[in-house]
Amino acid sequence: MNFKHSLCYLPYLCLALLLATPSWASERFKVVVVMSYEENNPWCQEIKQGIDSVLADTSDIEYIYMDTKVNFAGGQAKADQAFERIKQTQPDGIITADDNVQKMLVVPYLKNQTQTPVMFCGVNANPSAYGYPADNVSGILERGHIRESIAFLKQLKESIAKVCFLAKDSPSGLALKRQVKAEESSYLAKNNGFYLTQSTDQIKQQADTLNAKCDAIYIDSLEGIMDSAGNPLNHLQVFAALEAAYKGPIIGANKYHVDQGALSAVVKTGQEQGEEAAKLLLKAMQGAPVSELPITRNFRGRRIINITTMERQNINPRPIVLRSASLVSMQK
């Protein structure tokens, strides 16, 4: 191109400079998010909020749900479909939420088999169980704030001395049990029994024991247990069954547990899980090697009290306790 030819672009360049539009800012990433559970699961919704808050401005996000809470058996097929979709869309990055998707999708199809960065969140199990970290996999582990939740409960009701734990007999429930075992010595109330359950029938059977042994019950990962007819239940349904069986205070692990009737909790949030996973993925997509993005865990515990339940339990805490907590009333 001779000098004169190059000059022919000059006016356009001038006009472009006048308009001063940063054209490079228009490049957007493609991101696929694969959730272990169903779309209307409150935990998934929290994670989605967290991911969107970080990536919505820069990325086009496609969400895929594996529904394993309500249909665990169909999970692998969903995982296969998700992998096909990933191959089709060739995303710049992938986020996988909770344990099931790790086992069914990431480990068999994605871990160390592609350059595409994969960030997990909501994983309760030990990361080594999935061979993490891997060349292209990192993310954020999910750990309940059990000790803090018990302490918070004691602030509300000082007489609490024995606490029991209830979770679904599932990988998440087992992971929770391991966590409790590891850290129970630091709890302000005695661990008076960890119960893994498959159905509401089992809960009913254990009602007398629970009422006798437990000043309070800590619950987590109960969604998906079966009713008498063998139908998987959502958390609201499970909680109703539990509340019918057990009269003492029930404390939860997630915000929606408290929203749906638990007395209080220092909750882990799906938003934090989603945000952190999304931030890690964004760094990876912008060029940071995954090996330089270490696995992290959730830290932020929010104190939440369900005042409807509090009144029902006839608990009158000091105002200072209420002030440093978020108060919710019972979901309609």
């Binding site: 004169k4 030819h5 000059l7 022919c8 000059l10 006016p11 356009y12 001038c14 006009l15 400079l17 006048l18 808050s53 704030h145 000790r147 803090e148 018990i150 302490a151 918070f152 004691k154 602030q155 000082e158 302000l188 220092v266 882990k268 949030t269 938003q271 934090e272 945000e275 830290f299 932020r300 515990g301 929010r302 104190r303 000091r318 200072i320 306790v321 002030r323 440093s324 907590a325 978020s326």
Partner: protein, 1071 residues
């Protein structure tokens, strides 16, 4: 007469007095015995009282007082111990010591036992309060640490809040954390308040203290519970939370211990109080018993004293009576009677009677009378001898040629000799009784009195000289005075002997005047002069020598060396002299030496000559020293400046030539080559013009540093003047290839130079010539390197160029053109042609562009392209530009008068004109001189003019705009086409370069560019002028694109002013 003293002892006055004394002693012994008995009785009684009963009373009172004081101090201590003052422990120790002292001093065993118990209780109390204070301190330290950690926690949370808000993320969690931290702080503040309330209660009434899990512990437990939830946070906050929890536990432990300690202390204080009460009661009862016994004893002592006093008074009166009678008898018989007889005899001797004193006694009075009779006989004999001696001395004094006087100690004449009377022309009667000051001149009176005072003490003699007025006129007298002492050794009178010394004084005055004259002469010499004796002693020195050597005539010689002259002396070494050399040679000599001092070294020249003494031998030398430092420095400076550049201190052309000659001699022998690099600093002139010569000079110095860093030590850098340097490379080798050196120098100039806050970027144009390839002598090689440098400059500067033969031709041409241009300016050979500018719609003439032409006699008209580049290179472009400006303005004025039309004439400016200061002033002057309206003149700029020193150029352009002249931007599109310049210059017209117009209708790129420029100019409300329009097609195309004005051969070529005048007439006719 001898008296037998033993024989008369009993009958003498002494014997009588001994009897009186013996009797008195006896009486006094009797009286003393009586008094002793009485006083012993009183003493025994009193002793009994004081040693037993009274002592007990006093001791009990003291004990009561001490205990009261100690108890009040204990009470005070118990009230203030919580203040934790540093001196409380010391105070407690003092109380304990005093308590122990009281305990050991009391006699009552019950009281001693109680005090011992009390002391033990006090010790427990002190240990208790030490413990309490320690625990209170622990509590408060924990409190402080907790508040610090809370502050840290709040800070971390605040940081998170700010960060999260800035990222536009939800802050619910952080808000909650902040509330939690606030709750912690509230709890701690409440706990702190309770702690101080607790302490306050104890101080007010410690008996209320009780051990319990108090409110503080309860609040601490609540806080600990609240802290359990903060661990659900980010690690940094979690860590702070854990630290706070640890500190709260620490606080809780200390607080509980403090409670226990306070309760224990309270118990100890109650025990102490009880013992205090017991001891005070016991002391009070002891005091009551003692008071009763004391009253009885007081009554007994009073009776004893009154009876003893009566006996003593009676005995004293009896003694006085007996002694008085006995003493009166002795005085009358043995003192009064013989004394009156002796006085009568002495009066007879005083009256000259020769009768002896008659006193028939054998005691001391008789001996005195014999001695007086003997003395009377001896006095008579001495008086006869004195009369003879006085006569002899009177005759001696009267016949003396010296003046002899005797005065009393006040200075009044008692005796004057005949010579004295003759000298002052007065008789003895006139002088006796007069004061010495009557012969003294008024101004000497004080001095004379001072001399007389000297005679009042040892050695009682003094000399002085005075000038007096005598019958023979003014005379000088020299006095020797001596005081005459009495037998007791005190001065009684003054004997003074005076001598006329007028002749000697006159001789001395004459000698002093001569000495002063010589001193003035020698001191007026600025060089140090010393007259030294053979032994190196200073016989004389002038002021300059005194100042320099710090010695004076006649004073010792510590600062002068007597041995051979050293060539260098340092500060603490002796100054050199030429004494030994002159004594050895017997003739004058000279030497140079350097004197090193803290202020630097000074050069001196010594010249010394011998002088003869009274025996015709060499008595010493006269030595003159001269400081020739400045002379030597001047010579050195002259030598340096003869071979170096004054600004950079680099070798100049003379030294360079010398080194070049040495280099080629060596190169010839070694078969090597020599490189000559001619360096010219690019744009130095611009820097000088815009920032001044001071900055220019500093720039040159900095540049020299960079050059020097790029060459070997054996290479020579020389400044040729201005911004030109020459580097001589004596032995070209692989490491110092001239091309490599040139590259290094160019590279070294990549970094900007900072000169007094200006970041200056500059470069070199370097020409290289090689011996023997490009010349065999210095001048040829230098000329060829210069020529190569011009080639480098022409290739775009910041470059180097080797000399080649053809360059020389170009250099010759350049020189010729420059010379001819100079002449052209003075001969007015530069003229203006004008090319009309046409409004594209109306076809009317709207303006003219002035174009310079060189009209030579021999060649004819030379186009600007053949001389403007040379003019720019040499700087003549500025003068040419000013010439064009003035010519154009004159022509506008002329046309205005001829045609009445107000034409706008464009005059091109050069980049150098714009860089130089004063362009707006030149333009304003041209407009004013030709009475133009500023809008009739348009100045054409190109963008490239603004690229160097943009700030200065823009400033000049703005000033031109302020004048009201129009501006047009020429050649738009060929340069950088910066829109920011368009905005800042705000030209009236934009000129499309002819290179774009040339291929219009054939080249789509050119069409696109011209189209874009027209649109952009119109969007900025600028008029567009297309240059170089030569065809109908071009004109039509531009008309269709709404170009405003055109200029080119299609309408008119550039024409002389006269042709334009004709054209204007036609225009006027067709209007």
């Amino acid at each position: 007469m001898l008296i037998d003293r033993n024989a008369v002892t009993k009958s003498t006055l002494k014997g009588k007095l001994l009897q009186l004394i013996s009797f008195s002693v006896l009486i006094l012994l009797v009286l003393a015995s009586f008094l002793t008995i009485s006083f012993n009785s009183i003493r025994d009684t009193t002793q009994d009282v004081t040693e037993t009963k009274l002592n007990q009373v006093i001791a009990n009172s003291q004990t009561a007082y001490d205990l009261s004081r100690i108890f009040s101090e204990i009470d005070l201590l118990s009230r203030i111990f919580l203040n934790r003052r540093p001196d409380l422990q010391q105070q407690a120790n003092q109380i304990r010591q005093r308590l122990f002292k009281v305990e050991t001093s009391v006699n009552d065993t019950r009281l001693a036992q109680i005090l011992k118990t009390l002391r033990g209780q006090f010790d427990h109390f002190v240990w208790g309060f030490v413990d309490v204070n320690r625990l209170a301190t622990e509590v408060e330290i924990a409190d402080t640490h907790i508040h610090e950690q809370l502050q840290q926690l709040e800070r971390l949370i605040s940081d998170m809040l700010i960060r999260t808000t800035a990222e536009q993320q939800p802050t619910h969690y952080i808000d909650q954390m902040l509330s939690l931290a606030t709750s912690y702080r509230e709890s701690m503040l409440r706990i702190r308040a309770l702690h101080f309330e607790h302490k306050g209660h104890f101080i007010e009434g410690h008996q209320q203290i009780e051990v319990s899990g108090n409110k503080i512990v309860h609040h601490l437990d609540e806080l600990l519970l609240m802290l359990q939830t903060i661990t659900a946070s980010e690690p940094r906050i979690n860590n702070v939370g854990l630290e706070i929890e640890r500190l709260v536990w620490q606080y809780r432990d200390a607080s509980l211990s403090l409670d226990f300690a306070l309760a224990e202390l309270n118990n100890r204080m109650l025990d102490l109080q009880e013992s205090k009460q017991l001891s005070l009661e016991l002391v009070n009862s002891l005091q009551a018993e003692n008071a009763q016994q004391t009253e009885l004893l007081a009554s007994r002592i009073s009776h004893l004293i009154s009876s003893s006093a009566s006996y003593v008074i009676a005995a004293v009166f009896a003694t006085i009576l007996v002694l008085t009678l006995f003493t009166a008898h002795i005085i009358r018989k043995h003192i009064n009677t013989p004394m009156s007889q002796l006085i009568s005899g002495i009066d007879g001797i005083a009256d000259g009677k020769q009768t002896n004193i008659q006193l028939q006694r054998e005691d001391e009075w008789g001996s005195i009378a014999d001695a007086l009779n003997k003395m009377k006989d001896e006095l008579k004999s001495y008086y006869s001898q004195i009369q003879r001696s006085e006569e002899k001395y009177r005759l001696l004094v009267e016949n003396q040629s010296d003046l002899v006087i005797e005065m009393d100690m006040a200075g009044q004449f008692q005796f004057v000799s005949q010579t004295f009377c003759q000298t002052f022309g007065k008789s003895k009667d006139q002088l006796i009784g007069q004061h010495f000051t009557t012969i003294t001149q008024p101004q000497d009176k004080h001095k004379i009195q001072m001399h007389f005072r000297e005679l009042h003490h040892d050695p009682y003699q003094d000399n002085f000289e005075q000038q007096v007025v005598t019958d023979q006129g003014e005379r000088w007298l020299s006095w020797h005075n001596r005081a005459v002492l009495s037998a007791a050794g005190s001065p009684q009178s003054i004997i003074a002997i005076g001598r006329d010394v007028t002749a000697r004084k006159q001789a001395e005055d004459a000698l002093e005047r001569q000495r002063r004259f010589l001193r003035t002469v020698i001191d007026s010499v600025t060089d140090p002069i010393l007259v030294l004796g053979r032994d190196n002693e200073i016989l004389m020195s002038n002021s300059a020598a005194d100042n320099q050597y710090g010695v004076h005539s006649g004073i010792g010689l510590p600062g002068l060396a007597s041995e051979s002259t050293p060539t260098v002396v340092s500060g603490d070494q002796p100054y050199p002299t030429l004494l030994s050399e002159v004594l050895e040679l017997g003739a004058p000599t000279q030497a140079l030496y350097v004197h090193k001092t803290d202020q630097g070294q000074r050069h001196h020249e010594l010249v010394a000559s011998p002088f003869e003494d009274t025996h015709g031998e060499i008595g010493g030398i006269v030595q003159v020293s001269r400081d020739i430092t400045e002379k030597i420095r001047s010579e050195e400076k002259i030598r340096f400046l003869a071979h170096h550049d004054a600004l950079t201190h680099l070798p100049n052309r003379i030294l360079l030539r010398d080194r070049f000659n040495q280099a080629i001699q060596y190169a010839e022998r070694a078969g090597q080559k020599v490189g000559v690099l001619f360096l010219d600093l690019d744009h130095f002139k611009d820097i000088n013009d815009t920032l001044g010569h001071h900055i220019g000079d500093l720039l040159l110095k900095s540049v020299v540093e960079r050059i020097s860093a790029s060459i070997r030590k054996s290479d020579t850098v020389s400044r040729q003047g201005g911004d030109e340097f020459v580097i001589l490379i004596p032995q070209i080798g692989s490491s110092n290839d001239p091309e490599q050196v040139a590259r290094q120098i160019l590279s070294s100039m990549n970094q900007a130079l900072e000169i007094e806050g200006h970041q200056l970027r500059t470069s070199f144009s370097i020409g290289i010539s090689i011996y023997p390839d490009d010349g065999k002598d210095f001048d040829t090689l230098l000329k060829n390197a210069d020529t190569a440098m011009y080639a480098a400059k022409k290739s775009g500067r910041n470059a180097y160029h080797f000399y080649a033969d053809h360059l020389n031709d170009h250099a010759v041409e350049r020189l010729q053109i420059n010379n001819r241009l100079q002449q052209a300016l003075s001969r007015d050979e530069l003229i203006l042609y004008y090319q009309p500018q046409i409004d594209i719609q109306s076809g009317r003439l709207v303006g003219l562009e002035a174009l310079v032409r060189w009209q030579t006699e021999d060649i004819g008209l030379i186009p600007p392209s053949q001389f403007i580049p040379y003019a720019e290179e040499s700087g003549l472009i500025v003068e040419i530009g000013e010439c064009a400006l003035n010519q154009a303005c004159q022509q506008i004025n002329q046309w205005h008068h001829e045609s009445g039309q107000e034409l706008v004439v464009c005059v091109n400016l050069s980049a150098l004109q714009l860089r130089r200061e004063g362009l707006p002033k030149t333009v304003a002057q041209a407009i004013f001189n030709n009475q133009l309206r500023p809008g009739q003149l348009e100045l054409e700029l190109t963008e490239s003019m603004l690229l160097t020193n943009t700030k200065h150029a823009l400033s000049q352009v703005k000033q031109l705009k302020t004048l009201g002249v129009k501006l047009s931007l020429d050649d738009f599109g060929t340069g950088y086409s910066s829109l920011s310049y368009l905005k800042q210059i705000q030209p009236n017209r934009l000129k499309i370069d002819r290179s774009f117009v040339k291929d219009l209708t054939q080249d789509r790129d050119d069409e696109a560019i011209v189209n874009a420029i027209i649109q952009m100019a119109h969007s900025l409300n600028l008029t567009v002028v297309a240059e170089g329009v030569e065809t109908q097609e071009q004109l039509q195309w531009l008309k269709q694109r709404a170009c405003d004005q055109v200029q080119g051969f299609y309408f008119y070529k550039p024409m002389p002013a006269e042709a334009i005048s004709e054209l204007l007439k036609l225009e006027k006719l067709s209007a």
